[in-house]
Amino acid sequence: MNPENAINILLVDDEVKFLTAVADRLTLKGFTVTTATDGDAAIEAAGKGGFDVAVVDLQMPGTDGAEVLKILKQKHKFIEIIMLTGHATVDSAVECTKLGAFKYLEKPYDFDKLIEVLKDAYHLRMQKKFETNANRMEAIQRLSMGQSPLGILKELAKLDDGQK
């Protein structure tokens, strides 16, 4: 198992056979994979936290991929999302990019390409977290000068907001 692959992935697709095959392949490569067969289940699973990257099918019955993307990006500051689609259009690609998708892949895709994109997404997530933590440390240092202990706690709570 490649330790570089120790990434927590949320995989979302209404095509169960596709979901199972991709999850099995990623698991064999050492990734940790959780699956969801619809948008609502994906949002619920993400609510428990711990995912580095979500791979989401765009066209699903009920809550579709674009909606899942929007909600996950709103609720989970650092999650990176890769969109999958069997029906790629310029409009949908633009919409997903505007909503904050890391990448937009068209089915069927090359599996090695998916692995590469997953790693890139994970690195971006870690980079963003690192930068945010560095900024946070700076802010804490500034706060510690001239603030009461209660004031510091209040400001820290603000800084922690949306870090999940």
Partner: protein, 255 residues
Amino acid sequence: MDVPATGNDVKGGGVPMDNVKEWFGYDSLAFFGKVNASISHELKNVMAIISETTGLLGDLSEMARGGTPLDPDMLTSSTESIIEEIQRGFTIIRQMNRFSHSVDTPVVSVDLMEILDLVRNLSGYLSFAGKISLHAIDGVTPMATTCPFILQAVIYQAVVCSFQNTGPGTKLELSILSQNNSTWRILFDGFCPKEFDVFPDDRIKRMAASIGVSIHSDREANRLEIGVPVSMEGLAAQPGAPEMPAEEDSLRNRP
């Protein structure tokens, strides 16, 4: 619409070929494109499953070479999955073929149940589509001389409009009744009430009018009705057309 009964340049139903060509304008092309896009989407899903499952088999072979024992159950389920997806692919291609050939003869005598069956299958490729049940008339084949492609377009759009609001968990019941000896009635029970205000739009009205098809709504019953002339030749009765019950009786006798 004004349809001459005779002429040298006619295709089935006595409709001039020039008129028929005009019907296949942008609206028809847009419908053709939309349906083909949904079919290609479905085929891509099939290809993606086959691609990932064969990839999984490749990964397992690679691991076996490295000394990891193979799981026979995993091999069996993977090969079964591939076989099922190939069959699914063939079924999709069969529907695509039926749909593509529906423009071959602009006006032709068709079994309306065949049209409804094709629409049911095509709409099933939309992620938001619910289930459609078809109800045939016992012992009667609802034949009509019409433009099957445009009729499909009108029926398909009605189905799509309804499911867009109601979603995948819902059901539409489609049945055919005879109103009189010149018109078949296609009933959509469970039609989304929200859509009565927007369906049919001008585009669908144009397409329906071009083949003499009428569209009515019954808001209280959540029912849409599409009237299809047995013949496009002045809606005259066709030889061999079934004896039709009165309108009220046919509705009252519905299950």
